[in-house]
Amino acid sequence: MVGYVESITDPSYHGQILVQTYPLIGNYGVNPEDFESGRPWIKGYVVSEFTHRPSHHTSRKSVERWLEENRIPGLYGIDTRALVKRLRHYGVIPGLLVVSEKPLRLNPLIKEARTLPDPNAGNLVAEVSSPDIHIYNPEGRKKLVLIDCGVKRGIIRALVARGASVVRVPENFPPEKILAFNPQGLVISNGPGDPQQCRAVTTVQALLKENLPVLGICLGHQILALAAGARTYKLKFGHRSQNQPCLEEGTRRCYLTSQNHGYAVDTRTLPPEWSVWYTNANDGTNEGMRHKKKPVFSVQFHPEASPGPTDTEFIFDLFLEQLG
């Protein structure tokens, strides 16, 4: 119901047409401070209704104008609930946004949609990862390297807010160069697509030997799992909402989390030195794992929130405590 700016600028949505379930979008306009990256990443936007006249002291422009400026097509005025029900039934499906003066013939379009390349087949991460190195908060007390697989600014903000200095490196950055920064810890970011396509898996595999504290988030969690020897699979119904309940193993605690992922870690394939940390309370899928001896852990959800509930921000505190 809130958080459209954050979602639109989330690199994990790269290449996708985003459908909003909440019918009124754009109410508080667009504030660049809410951006999760430098630009919108979605391919198309589908809503029930746009607000032409947003109202908020931080608003700089309307969503409509913003998308137009970024040449992102949108569709409004349709029954988005009906569309979401189909997505729920079939899972993520290829879609076309077509503009036409004349009435459209459906069959050829359906055929065309079917021939669309699977966005997950390509290396999406390579497309969203920043090619350059950037150091945030160089004065920070603790130095971290963050592998950018399409990182949300929220993650960097959360780390910096806790006094860390964050060295952001591209997804294909080699392990020895990472170690050359002398980091006290490693963070693997979120990102789009299938983790098995990620080159960072081998990087992480190498770094795991170094006894560095590691935090994986979302795609970073899946990359860490693959590096540790576990397997991942495609979910029939991805988690794409801000109200995903996650149970903390061995406790009676349950946290509300923000999520956006289509792949998951197969709990049954976790190597013995790893334990399940969090589990989705609705469908029982894996939401986090922890090394039994080393300060290495990861979560499927977004502890940095933005958008969504801030219940699990303590994950960052836990991680930074490991850095000594």
């Binding site: 700016v5 019918p23 009124l24 988005t80 009906a82 729920r88 309370a281 509930p309």
Partner: protein
């Protein structure tokens, strides 16, 4: 479940009053269901007999007794429950529980209060403690100073700077709170606030800040959820109960939303809330700064609204959490597959609008502000804001077609209306845009966020566009857009100069139809099995399938609570659904009042939370194709649809709509009575003042005037003299050929009785007679009622039944009906007949145990009906007493008249009428006088009639104070009293001081009969008593009955017996 319990005592909220309405029937019922599911024995105390929660099928045992420490203590002694729940019965239950805790009663009886610790409850109720506790957690509350005297208050206001807000602690619905701009009004306002509560908070005034609410639940292992957030369209300064509210919030960013959510969690953790609570914020629209305004550590009106807005059963879950469950232990009751530990995602907008009835109270200001005055509310669901807003405005049932297209209002000073709102401001906004005012100007005056105003202005634009077209030239796209913005067929008809029927036909031809959508708590992310539905035009497909069936019945609910239509009609509607289900029928409920049990989706097979309009009911009927519609169980709102539905081809079950029309139309009904040789007061329908004058001269004053197009006592008036007749008819330009007025002779000194009955094909199959304590002239909704009758001749009863049989036969009644009669000696005159369930049906059903609803349902389905029970065989007496909310309505005169003024009612049982009356009056908030009573009897006649009662009173040992005339009169008859001067007399001893110093515990003030405008000083006396919380009786017969009961019984004589113990 962690806790090992066997028996739990649940406190109800008592009568419906302003600030405490039907929502607590809903939350209490849910709690009982949650406890029963665990195999617990539930004992309920609630004198509100018309509630669902006091039904036989819910709690194990029900006590119709006052929710006060005394009676609850007695019940605990008797029942010995291990635990008690005080958070499902509003402020009444909470205050009762807190008081018992402080008196050490809970410790004494070893009763544990489940849920939030009482220490925390106390903190939330004490402004000083509250501010301190939150400050400890680093959270912001308004800068304020708690004071307990006027001097302290004045100093505090100086320190904070005017304007300031005054809030009384321990009060419901903002009672005793006010906004103060000027120094000279400060002292008076402080005095009033301090009379409500020993502690008052003087606070900074956050003008123009947004008002935001969150509903939070927390379990004992610290899992927290924000189930719903809501935004008040009317910003700070207007009580949330008086505000138009939208859920979810519309103008908050992700950052703001989640920051406030996080703060809420910090606050509830600090306070160790377990179960549910509501947190209210002020949010600065210019910089995002916030203040926590208050936390209600209990289920509230907002929580009921949030449950209905999200589909998340807050009360049910709260009860489970209080038993020691954690959130992940529980299932989402809507999906039945996912966990209850989640926050609902909404894919629709809801708008709540309060329903006021301020026109019913003489001398009451129509301004709305920091105190609650509304008596009910409606909630509308749509997929656009405009759709929900316009639906909601129609749902109010105040004659509005939506946001635009209305005629029945006018504003003398529009700017003032916008800046200092009354209950009609929303229409003032429409008016302003019609005049071409800018959004900026309206935003400046109202402080309403421009987001909402832009959308409202869009509706005015749409009206303009529609007005420029005829129906035939209206393009399909524009028609669809109008429907998506919530325009009704009727509105479109008005704008395009067509009829509603023509618009409907055109729309159907163009296949512009609403879609049925589910409220599924997860915005379609998971498949949901929910039957909770609404209709929208922003949708292209239905979420559910429809199967026409002969075993499927649609039941129309009551619409909003208002004066005259309250929880009793919800009871009737719910019991109708239950009876139908027992008989194997599928049920469809249509209603939109978020405070009801009928809108709980687990009561029926399908719940349509939508309008009770001809258009919408037809939409649903055409989709569902049920075997028929029951319109006689939801009060006047569905009843008014009878004929229209019938003419549109709908099968209306029960009495034929033509017959209903014959009973509703005064003219037709009076003619029918003449035909049947049934006596009635002389009456005439007049179309001009001249005619009215002539008729009144003929029959003699007083007369009752009622505009014929308004029913059920609305805008009725008792007229004692010709000058007032003119004034009355002219003022409201009430009389015209299009709007005839019915005038009937008012019979003085007659008893009023009612017949509640069910008939099947014209034959009465069950009936009960109710006796009013007050003589005719007091609206039946305000009357104190006794069952079985105590002071009626057998012949009167026989004749009343005969009349009932005659009318039932003549109108071929099938279903419930109610007859109101005047009785003098054995002569009976009929004054009103309703061919629907009446307000007193739950009372009569529960006292007599005659299953009126079930019988009526069977009759309507054409099944055989029989009943062998009769009220005359009861070994006990039931008394129903009205609950007034005069203390909430500043300036209202508490005297009774032909206009209904009570907001709710209670009923208690006793071994005799005295016992039942005292219990009922105590349950309605009358504290029995222990030391003193003040008598003021207006006019010679009242004085004469009261002599016997005065003697009784003298024998009770109470000190009698009396006003000058009354005192003299009493002395003449050898009754001692202490004379007090009236307020306008500058002499001592003056009753003003005695009242203010609480030397007087009870006031009997009988206005001079036959005097239209009474002495102002008598009004001031009554008003002062009300403002000081001193009980007032203004009716002679009630005063007599009360004194006689007071003489017969002491509080210790009042037996603590459950409903089932009366046989």
């Amino acid at each position: 479940m962690k806790k090992r319990l066997r028996k739990v005592l649940l406190l109800g909220s008592g009568a419906i009053k302003i600030g405490e309405a039907g929502e607590f029937d809903y939350s209490g019922s849910q709690a009982i269901k949650a406890l029963k599911e665990e195999g617990l024995e539930v004992v309920l105390v609630n004198p509100n007999i018309a509630t669902i929660q006091t039904s036989e099928f819910l709690a194990e045992r029900v006590y119709f007794l006052p929710v006060t420490p005394y009676f609850v203590g007695k019940i605990i002694e008797k029942e010995k429950p291990e635990a008690m729940m005080i958070s499902f019965g509003g402020q009444t239950a909470l205050n009762c529980g807190l008081a018992m805790w402080k008196q050490g009663l809970l410790e004494k009886h070893k009763v544990e209060v489940l849920g939030t610790p009482l220490q925390s409850v106390e903190i939330t109720e004490d402004r000083g403690l509250f501010n301190r506790a939150l400050a400890e957690a680093g959270l912001k509350t308004p800068h304020g100073i708690a004071v307990s005297s006027i001097e302290e208050g004045l100093r505090a206001a100086e320190k904070i700077g005017l304007p300031v807000m005054l809030r009384a602690a321990f009060a419901l619905g903002g009672k005793g709170s006010s906004l103060c701009y000027k120094k000279d009004e400060l002292e008076e306002k402080l005095r009033i606030a301090l009379s409500e509560s020993s502690q008052v908070l003087v606070e900074e005034y956050l003008e123009g800040w947004k008002e935001i609410e969150y509903e939070i639940i927390r379990d004992e292992v610290d899992n927290c959820l924000a189930i719903c957030n809501m935004e008040n369209i009317d910003p700070m300064g207007i009580h949330t109960g008086e505000s138009i509210v939208v859920a979810p919030s519309q103008t908050l960013t992700n950052t703001e939303y989640h920051r406030l959510r996080e703060i809420a969690f910090r606050a509830v953790r600090q306070l160790k809330i377990i179960g549910e609570c509501n947190i209210q914020y002020a949010l600065n629209p210019k910089n995002g700064d916030y203040r926590i305004i208050e936390i209600n550590a209990r289920l509230s009106r907002s929580s009921a609204l949030a449950s209905k807005a999200t589909g998340y059963p807050l009360a049910f879950m709260a009860a489970k959490l209080m038993l020691g469950y954690t959130l992940p232990d529980l299932k989402n009751t809507v999906t039945r597959a996912t966990t209850a530990c989640f926050e609902p995602a909404l894919d629709y907008v809801t708008v709540k609008i309060p329903r006021w009835d301020l026109k019913k109270f003489a001398r009451v200001s129509r301004k709305i502000g920091s105190e609650m005055k509304s008596v009910g509310e409606v909630m509308a669901i749509g997929r656009s804001f405009e759709e929900a807003l316009q639906k909601a405005l129609r749902m109010l049932q105040v004659g509005m077609y939506g946001f635009v297209g209305n005629e029945n209002y006018s504003f003398k000073n529009l700017e003032k209306e916008l800046a200092h709102p009354t209950d009609e401001r929303i229409f003032g906004i429409a008016e302003a845009f019609k005049k071409g005012w800018s959004v900026e100007k309206v935003a400046h005056l109202t402080k309403i966020d421009p987001w909402f105003l832009h959308r409202m202005r869009g509706l005015v634009e749409m009206e303009k566009q529609l007005r420029s077209l005829s129906l035939s030239s209206l393009p399909a796209e524009l028609l669809l857009e109008a429907k998506r913005k919530g325009f009704s067929d009727k509105q479109i008809a008005i704008f395009t100069g067509a009829t509603e029927q023509e618009v409907r036909e055109k729309r159907k031809k163009l296949k512009i139809q609403p879609a049925v959508k589910q409220i599924d708590t997860l915005a379609a992310e998971y498949p949901a099995k929910t039957n909770y539905l609404y209709l929208t035009y922003c949708g292209s497909e239905d979420d559910v399938r429809f199967r026409p069936s002969k075993k499927k019945i649609m039941v129309l609910g009551s619409g909003p609570y208002s004066i005259g239509s309250s929880v009793e009609f919800d009871w009737c509607a719910v019991n109708t659904v239950l009876s139908l289900r027992q008989l194997g029928y599928k049920t469809i409920m249509v209603n939109y009042n978020p405070e009801t049990v009928s809108t709980d989706y687990d009561m029926c097979d399908r719940l349509y939370f939508d309008e009770l309009s001809l258009e919408r009911v037809l939409d649903i009927y055409e989709k569902e194709k049920p075997a028929g519609v029951i319109i006689s169980m939801g009060g006047q709102v569905p009843n008014n649809l009878a004929l229209k539905l019938h003419l549109a081809g709908v099968r209306v079950l029960g009495t034929s709509p033509e017959s209903i029309d014959r009973a509703e139309d005064r003219h037709k009904f009076s003619k029918l009575l003449d035909e049947l040789s049934i006596d009635q007061p002389p009456w005439k329908e007049v179309t001009s003042l001249e005619e009215a004058r002539k008729f009144c001269a003929e029959v003699g004053y007083p007369v009752i005037i009622r505009p014929s197009y308004v029913l059920s006592g609305a805008a009725m008036s008792l007229v004692f003299e010709e000058s007032y007749l003119e004034q009355y008819l002219k003022r409201a330009s009430l009389v015209s050929p299009e709007h005839p007025v019915v005038i009937s002779k008012f019979i003085v000194g007659a008893k009023e009785i009612e017949l509640e009955a069910v008939a099947s094909r014209g034959k009465v199959v069950a009936s009960a007679i109710i006796e009013h304590i007050e003589n005719a002239g007091v609206h039946s909704g305000d009357a104190t009622m006794v069952v079985p009758p105590q002071k009626l001749y057998l012949e009167t009863i026989r004749r009343a039944r005969l009349i009932g049989e005659k009318i039932a036969r003549a109108l071929k009644i099938t279903g419930p009906f109610n007859l109101q009669l005047l009785a003098r000696d054995n002569e009976l005159k009929v004054i009103e007949c309703n061919l629907r369930a009446s307000r007193s049906l739950p009372f009569v059903s529960k006292v007599s145990r005659i299953p009126f609803i079930e019988l009526a349902v069977r009759a309507m389905l054409g099944l055989p009906v029989s009943n062998s029970r009769s009220v005359f065989e009861l070994n006990y007496v039931g008394v129903k007493a009205p609950q007034f909310s005069f203390s909430r309505l500043k300036g209202a005169d508490p005297r009774l008249g032909v206009e209904m003024a009570s907001t709710g009612e209670v009923a208690c049982l006793g071994d005799d009428a005295h016992e039942a009356l005292l219990k009922a009056m105590m349950a309605a908030g009358y504290r029995l006088p222990e030391k003193s009573i003040l008598l003021s009897l207006g006019g010679e006649e009242n004085k004469q009639k009261f002599i016997a009662a005065a003697r009784d009173l003298a024998r009770t040992g109470l000190t009698i104070y009396a006003t000058e005339g009354t005192s003299k009169f009493l002395k003449r008859h050898g009754i001692e009293s202490i004379r007090l001067f009236k307020i306008h007399q500058p002499r001592q001893p003056n009753l003003k001081n005695f009242l203010m110093e609480k030397k007087i515990a009870f006031l009997i003030s009988i206005p001079h009969t036959g005097k239209r405008i009474e002495f102002d000083s008598d009004y001031r006396m009554r008003r002062l008593a009300i403002d000081l919380g001193i009980p007032v009786i203004t009716n002679l017969q009630l005063a007599e009955a009360f004194v006689s009961a007071l003489r017969a019984k002491k509080i210790g004589d009042l037996k603590v017996k459950s409903w089932s113990e009366y046989e």
